[in-house]
């Protein structure tokens, strides 16, 4: 019997809705499902929404009856917002979130490093935007609940998942006892402490860092803009770091490192929290300013990944697949990329557009991304949470030097989460003009957004399948091309032809025509009339041509679907 709490979680600013559990007795007997997703956090919900976009239904299980406790992941990157736009919720984050692009590092009262990430005019979204995770989950859940292909089940806790012939057998516990589900695929999106992962005895590769950090959300009126603040080795917390981030509703995240040896229990005692938060406020000149605690927790930094995400019919994603540092905001932001990739790879296998082998590509690409993150974020982590005496000495030497020496200041760069280039993907075209280009995103790269006109960007129009974006001249799209696209569609591969035109008139044969009066796409993508880019369903580029022809297009789609 699984009895999740029906008490709304406490919060001074967020009203937790308690949902009704899904119970066997109230539902028909269960067929064999296509996909069961365990975990309704950001990774699970984006996976469900992307699967649905590609026409695949899923069952989405949440052990709890309400959204996650506390604000958790609060910073979402530009790429994450592009992915959230694909699943239809970015506008809600934009409405309620706090966009930003600058951060400051302070040592001995001096601002020793300031990073101003540029906001490229071609990007719709800001480099970063802050909103509490409960709101993000609410927006995602609203989209899931409105989608007839997604069956959200609250109060359903997975207790066992077993690979069997042709699928997975799942045992799920509920407030009225357990039931069994048979499914073709099971997505383990059950978070950092994944019981599916531990139940299968899977080992993570990489490093764990000993240092513990407290995160506390307080409501306080501080006159700062939305910029990251990082304080190094302050007087009240010698040798340690403090981060502060602004959230909506007058909430501030205070994040501080604990001295070695202190336990989470000691650190989370209300008196300890109060003493340290008061010390931080005093240091920044706001002693005595009234504040209220909303939520607090502890974390430690880890740079870990499974070496393989696909285990027969069980696929790991998000924190269940990897544990990545808070430095550079790597957790949820990586999960969105995983989920977007998983959504289309799995959908195409389930729908028969590609063989099961395609899932190996998903794993290879995303494990590759995790390893890149571990390398990059590892550097930031060794700076923020030095794991040894040697690293601590180097960090402290840099802090001291940074007061007068410019050359060390770039070491403060926190290396924000970014999308990854799948440069060696098996799905990349063997017959395109990639190497002949002198500009534009290369094959494997994530998309570069383009502002075509006011409030009209390239990525507003792509997604849901493969997108062939063709630069047309006044003659329109050649018949050879529209015929080739139609043939590919008839063979069952979802492909849309988008024509980019300097004129407003829609062009014959194209699914849609993008009016690009200033030829910004051609400039940004370094491509002339007759050329084209082929975007995958996750908008990564898998082929590009300076002069497109039907034969190479056909072959590239076959390679992209491993046919």
């Amino acid at each position: 019997m699984h009895t999740p709490s029906a008490q709304p979680r406490p919060s001074i600013y967020y009203n937790y809705q308690v949902f009704k559990p899904w119970l066997s007795s109230q539902n028909p007997p269960q067929p064999k499902h296509k996909v069961v997703i365990v975990g309704a956090g950001p990774a699970g919900m984006v996976t469900a929404l992307e699967l649905a976009r590609h026409g695949v239904s899923s069952v989405l299980l949440s052990a709890e009856l309400q959204f996650s406790q506390g604000s958790r992941a609060i910073v979402f990157t530009r790429r994450s917002m592009e992915i959230l736009q694909q699943v239809g919720v970015a506008h809600r984050v934009t409405e309620n979130g706090l966009p930003w692009r600058c951060g400051n590092s302070i040592y001995r009262g001096q601002k020793v490093f300031r990073m101003e990430t540029p906001h490229d005019p071609d990007d719709r979204f800001f480099p970063m935007i802050n909103i509490q995770q409960q709101y993000l989950e609410e927006y995602l859940h609203d989209a899931c609940a409105a989608n007839e292909l997604i069956d959200v089940r609250w109060g359903n806790k997975l207790v066992k998942a077993e690979n069997i012939e042709g699928g997975v057998k799942a045992e799920i516990d509920t407030p009225e006892g357990p039931y069994t589900l048979d499914t073709e695929w099971l997505v383990a999106a059950d978070g950092g402490r994944s019981e599916i992962r531990s139940g299968m005895n899977l080992k993570l590769e990489g490093a764990s860092f000993e240092s513990i950090f407290v995160i506390a959300d307080i409501r306080i009126d501080l006159p700062y803009p939305t910029e990251r603040l990082a304080f190094f080795d302050p007087d009240w917390n010698r040798g340690n770091t403090i981060l502060m981030h602004r959230e909506p509703h007058g909430i501030w995240r205070v994040d501080y490192q604990l001295p070695p040896g202190e336990t989470p229990e000691e650190a989370l005692r209300p008196e300890s929290l109060k003493q340290r938060i008061d010390a931080q406020l005093k240091m920044i000149g706001f002693e005595g300013k009234p504040w209220e605690m909303d939520w607090n927790s502890v974390y430690s930094a880890r740079t870990l990944t499974l070496p393989e995400y696909v285990h027969k019919r069980i696929v790991f994603t998000g924190d269940a697949a990897h544990l990545l540092p808070i430095f550079g905001v790597r957790g949820a932001n990586t999960a969105f990329q995983d989920a977007q990739s998983l959504g289309w790879h799995l959908a195409y296998v389930v729908k028969g557009h590609a063989p099961e082998q395609l899932m190996q590509n998903h794993s290879a690409e995303r494990v590759g991304a995790a390893r890149e993150i571990i390398t990059e974020a590892g550097k930031s982590t060794r700076f923020m949470a030095p794991p040894s005496r040697g690293f601590r000495l180097l960090r402290d030497a840099v802090l001291s030097l940074s007061l007068t020496q410019e050359f060390v200041r770039p070491l403060y760069h926190w290396r924000t989460s970014r999308p990854h280039a799948y440069s060696h993907s098996l799905l990349n075209s063997p017959c395109d003009d990639n190497l002949h280009f002198t500009g534009g995103p290369a094959v494997g790269a994530p998309p570069q957004n383009v502002q075509l006109q006011a409030d009209d960007h390239l990525l507003d129009h792509l997604g849901g399948g493969f997108d062939l974006v063709y630069v047309a001249d006044t003659q329109g799209v050649p018949f050879e091309i529209t015929q080739a696209v139609a043939r590919i569609q008839q063979q069952g591969t979802p492909l849309k032809l988008t024509a980019v035109s300097a004129q407003a008139t829609p062009l014959k044969g194209a699914h849609q025509t993008l009016h690009d009066p200033q030829q910004r796409f051609a400039n940004r993508y370094s491509v002339q009339a007759g050329g084209a880019y082929l975007f995958r369903p996750d908008q990564h580029i898998c082929a590009r041509w300076q002069q497109l022809d039907a034969a190479r297009l056909q072959q590239s789609l076959q390679v992209a679907c491993m046919q």
């Binding site: 000495l393 180097l394 402290d396 030497a397 840099v398 001291s400 030097l401 020496q405 050359f407 060390v408």
Partner: protein, 63 residues
């Protein structure tokens, strides 16, 4: 800067005395931190990570 510059005996004696004095000036608590800072500043002046790593190997010998 003269890339052929070498450290003659007079120069070595100058460095020797300056470094010893500086270590004393930094004090027991801070001399390690001082030396790491100095190493980074020297690495910047040298501009060659491979040479720096070769120096690390030399300095690790016979400790």
């Amino acid at each position: 800067m003269n890339t052929q510059a070498t450290l003659d005996i007079a120069g070595l004696e100058q460095v020797y005395d300056a470094l010893a004095t500086a270590i004393d000036q930094a004090g027991a608590d801070k001399s390690e931190l001082f030396l790491v800072k100095l190493a980074l500043l020297n690495a910047k002046a040298m501009g060659n990570p491979q040479v720096f790593e070769a120096q690390i190997a030399s300095a690790l010998q016979d400790l």
